[in-house]
């Protein structure tokens, strides 16, 4: 038979249920050690009773030998067992309980008053539980709570509230308020005065860092010169966009919402008329607006013009064809036919972002010679104003005359005749000047109107004037930064050929603007939530703070003007000047 015996034992403050399963022919109960169910104590015989399964499936208990059983409080020798029947043997009470599935019988066994005899051990018991051994949970809890309170509150708070100057604090303090640091300071802020003084920025408890704390070191103009016109800016704080104690370290919010909250519906936030158009994300960016240089009188000015404006054309006063120079079949150079590359002239700045300005001497002169005397090709005029050119020519020819002692037809024929003793006559100098002036004018006319200057510059001829004043060369200025309100990094785009973005190979006119348009950027760049393109938020290209009160037109990236705490005003001036320079 298969039987479950559930022993219910009362421990100190709990009830213990022990289930044991027996698979036996019959269950013997008694004080003998080989009984199936070992019962001890007064009134239990070594073999007290037997429980067996009858053929009809019912369970029978019968007393063994002279024993008696109290079944349902009646003294009986044997009985058929049914649910909830009780059997008392000595101090033990067996109750028939519901047998689980698959069991023939289930009994619960309760022993009452186990300790009837006063038992005393011959030896003394040591602590028999962890509590008795002195390991009280309460004591440890108090200790833990106290340690956390001291290390997490009392010590840092005392440090934080230390009266007087931050430097007056003790040099050695077990736990400073650095224990409350929610993340490391950005490396630019890890300087004495900040790294050891939370109060430098967190000026008042339970108040978010205020702008004045930032402005102790950073002097930066506001986003707009007139915040009163745009109430949206009234409650903007530094901490609204600049978040410290972040990992990975970042100081600037990069999410689109930072800008789009207002720029998504600019009319709502900027009551005055503005040329700015609404922008949601990079996919909906309006066409680029370029800063186009143009001359007014003798001054260069910039106007902002949309890239899709048909009027867009560059006026640099230079005659240049990219297509001609980038001819895949080559172009004549000093070493014969040469295939030119973009990088021959366009070299990146040291930081790799924008391009260095084009310099005639550096980028053009190796091919574009300023030679003027066929018999003396090594000699060139300086690349400068017509006055300088004519002066150099006059000096050159006067020197030839002086050496030869008369007119010179070819430099190859130049010889030094025997010097007549004494001073030459006055007529010699007059003849020399007349000859040199004439030859210089001849050479200058060729240069200015036919060859070197003329091939690249716009030269106007004023025939009525004499000398260098006959020619006027329009000044050249090539745009270095079309998009000064955004930052671009060529170095970040090295895997793309120049021609992928700049259609220079097909550009024959100097007026062509070769800056790639928005659609070109959008081939790779998408909004911040784009999963198929380079995720690009506003801050990826644009900054928030204008470089100076004068507006955006100064160098844009890293525009925050630093008020250096070391009173290094000379350096500060230099930095500001460089940032403010066009």
């Amino acid at each position: 038979m298969r039987c479950l015996i559930r022993t219910i034992a009362a421990q100190k403050d709990t009830l213990e249920y022990r289930d044991a399963e027996y698979v036996v022919n019959e269950i013997s109960l008694g004080a003998a050690s080989d009984c199936t169910l070992y019962l001890e104590g007064r009134g239990v015989l070594p073999r007290h009773a037997l429980i067996a399964l009858r053929r009809d499936g019912r369970v029978q208990i019968r007393a063994d030998g002279g024993a008696t059983l109290q079944i349902n409080n009646k003294e009986q020798r044997s009985a058929l067992l049914a649910l909830n029947d009780t059997i008392r043997i000595g101090q033990h009470l067996l109750t028939v309980i519901q047998a689980p599935f698959g069991f023939d019988l289930a009994l619960s066994l309760k022993t009452e008053g186990v300790v009837q005899e006063e038992g005393r051990l011959e030896f003394e018991l040591g602590p028999m539980s962890l509590t008795e051994a002195g390991w009280s949970r309460r004591r440890w809890a108090w200790l833990g709570v106290l340690l956390v309170l001291i290390g997490g509150l009392i010590l840092p708070l005392t440090w934080s509230l230390w009266p007087g100057d931050a430097k007056a604090r003790p040099a050695h303090w077990p736990v400073t308020d650095n224990a409350w640091l929610s993340g490391p300071l950005h490396s630019v802020h890890r300087i004495p005065g900040l790294i050891d003084d939370c109060g430098a920025c967190h000026e008042a408890p339970f108040v978010q860092v205020r702008d004045q704390a930032c402005k102790t070191c950073h002097e930066t103009p506001d986003h707009v010169a007139h915040p009163e016109k745009a109430p949206a800016f009234a409650d903007q704080t530094c901490a609204g966009c600049h978040r410290e104690h972040n990992e990975p370290a970042t100081l600037v919010r990069h999410d689109e919402a930072l800008c789009v909250d207002c720029h998504g519906d600019i009319a709502q936030h900027w009551p005055e008329k503005t040329e700015l158009r609404d922008v949601g994300n990079f996919a909906e960016h309006p066409p680029f607006k370029l800063s186009l240089l143009h001359m007014q009188g003798s001054e260069w000015h910039t106007t902002r013009i949309a890239q899709d404006d048909p009027a867009l054309s560059e006026v640099s006063n230079l005659k240049f064809s990219h297509a001609q120079h980038l001819n895949p079949d080559g172009i004549d150079g000093p070493d014969g036919s040469t295939v030119m590359e973009c990088v021959d002239c366009h070299q990146p700045q040291q930081n790799g972002k924008l391009m260095q300005p084009i310099q005639m001497e550096q980028h053009c002169a190796s091919c574009h010679s300023l030679a003027f005397e066929a018999t003396d090709p090594e000699r060139q005029v300086p690349h400068g104003k017509p006055e300088a050119v004519v002066r150099a020519l006059e000096e050159y020819y006067a020197r030839l005359y002086a050496i030869q002692g008369g007119p010179v037809e070819s430099v190859h024929e130049l010889s030094r005749p025997a010097q007549r003793p004494g001073k030459p006559p006055k007529s010699f100098y007059a003849a020399m000047k007349a000859w040199a002036d004439e030859r210089a004018l001849e050479a200058a006319t060729t240069l200015m109107e036919e060859s070197a200057c003329h091939s690249c510059h716009d030269v106007t001829v004023h025939a009525e004037k004499s000398g260098a004043e006959r020619w006027r060369v329009l000044p050249v200025r090539i745009t270095e930064q079309w998009l000064p309100k955004s930052r671009f990094d060529h170095a970040a785009h090295l895997q793309i050929d120049c021609g992928e973005c700049h259609a220079a190979v097909k550009s024959e006119k100097t007026t062509d603007v070769l800056l790639p348009d928005l659609a070109n950027c959008q081939q790779c760049h998408g909004g911040e939530d784009s999963s198929s393109q380079v995720s690009s938020g506003c801050v990826g290209c644009h900054g928030y703070h204008p470089a100076a009160a004068s507006g955006y037109h100064a160098l844009f990236p890293r525009s925050t003007v630093q008020k250096l705490p070391s009173h290094n005003s000379a350096l500060q001036r230099a930095v500001s000047q460089q940032k403010g320079s066009p």
Partner: protein, 303 residues
């Protein structure tokens, strides 16, 4: 024949068909989804809206988990059964580790915030060990005590000792003193480490060196081995008769005593291990509560 006992009652893990396991899993999943919502504003940390949400959930969980200590001491009922509370405690406690880890945004450092996290993780891991202990050790304890309580075992030792002393009166006085010493120098219980090791540290006083020497010395009597060996030797040298019968019976009693002592030692050892995790779990959970309050305090103190 007897086979290993099976557990027929429902464990706290399987309570109501793993009811709270599903709750915990659901909460874990929701927390994960909240964590996964992209935040372009700043990197994942406790200060984003997701961070605040997960932090609030975690803090409420901690307070609720600690409430078990109050709920189980209240006998006037209250919401649900204690068993249900413990089941939920186990599952939601496990989820807390997940929720709090997401709350950190995996940013850790030598600061109060990570201390709170470390305390929490230690409490949860000790709790897991506790669940294991409660599922495994009680059954093992009952089995090794042969279905008797510790008091019953101690009473049995009292009985054996009484018989030993009665027999000791009739044997050679040397043996009598030896038996008396073995009983007196029995050691049960001790310090935390002694309880957890379960080693028998009993000793016995024997007459040292030569036969007639009266010098006494104390030797170890681990698992009554010294006594049993000495009695066996004495029996071997005994000429027989009544003395031999008495010695034989003493030998039998000490063998029984050895078994009983070992059962009590093992019971104390297992009970020690059963309670050890609570020594970590309970005090650290209270320290965690303080660290949690300070964590919230300090974050807003230096806002």
């Amino acid at each position: 024949m007897r086979v290993a006992p099976k557990i027929f009652h429902q464990t706290i893990l399987a309570y109501r068909g793993f009811h709270y396991a599903w709750w915990a899993l659901g909460l874990g999943l929701v927390s994960w989804l909240i964590y996964l919502i992209p935040n372009y504003e700043q990197p994942a940390n406790g200060g984003t809206w997701q961070g605040y949400t997960l932090g609030t959930v975690g803090a409420l969980l901690i307070v609720w988990l600690l409430w078990l200590g109050i709920r189980k001491r209240r006998n006037d009922g209250g919401i649900g059964t204690v068993q249900g509370w413990v089941s939920a405690h186990v599952y939601l406690g496990t989820t807390l580790l997940w929720v709090a880890t997401l709350h950190t945004g995996f940013q850790f450092g030598w600061n109060l915030h990570t201390l709170a996290y470390g305390l929490m993780a230690t409490v949860i891991i000790s709790g897991m060990l506790g669940v294991w202990a409660y599922l495994v050790l009680p059954a093992r304890m009952v089995r090794q005590r042969d279905n008797r309580t510790r008091d019953e075992l101690l009473l049995a030792i009292v009985e054996v000792d009484r018989q030993c002393l009665r027999l000791a009166q009739d044997v050679h006085p040397d043996v009598g003193a030896f038996v008396q010493s073995a009983l007196d120098r029995t050691v049960l219980g001790g310090s935390l480490l002694q309880q957890l090791s379960g080693r028998d540290r009993s000793s016995v006083e024997i007459r040292g060196g030569k036969e007639n020497s009266t010098a006494q010395r104390i030797v170890r009597n681990r698992n009554q081995g010294q006594v049993i060996r000495a009695l066996a030797e004495r029996l071997a040298r005994s000429p027989g008769g009544k003395e031999a019968v008495l010695l034989q019976e003493l030998l039998w009693l000490f063998a029984r005593r050895k078994t009983l002592l070992q059962q009590v030692l093992a019971d104390v050892r297992l009970q020690g291990w059963l309670q050890l995790w609570l020594l970590v779990h309970v005090p650290l959970s209270l320290a965690l509560l303080v660290a949690l309050v300070l964590h919230i305090f300090s974050v807003f103190y230096y806002w």
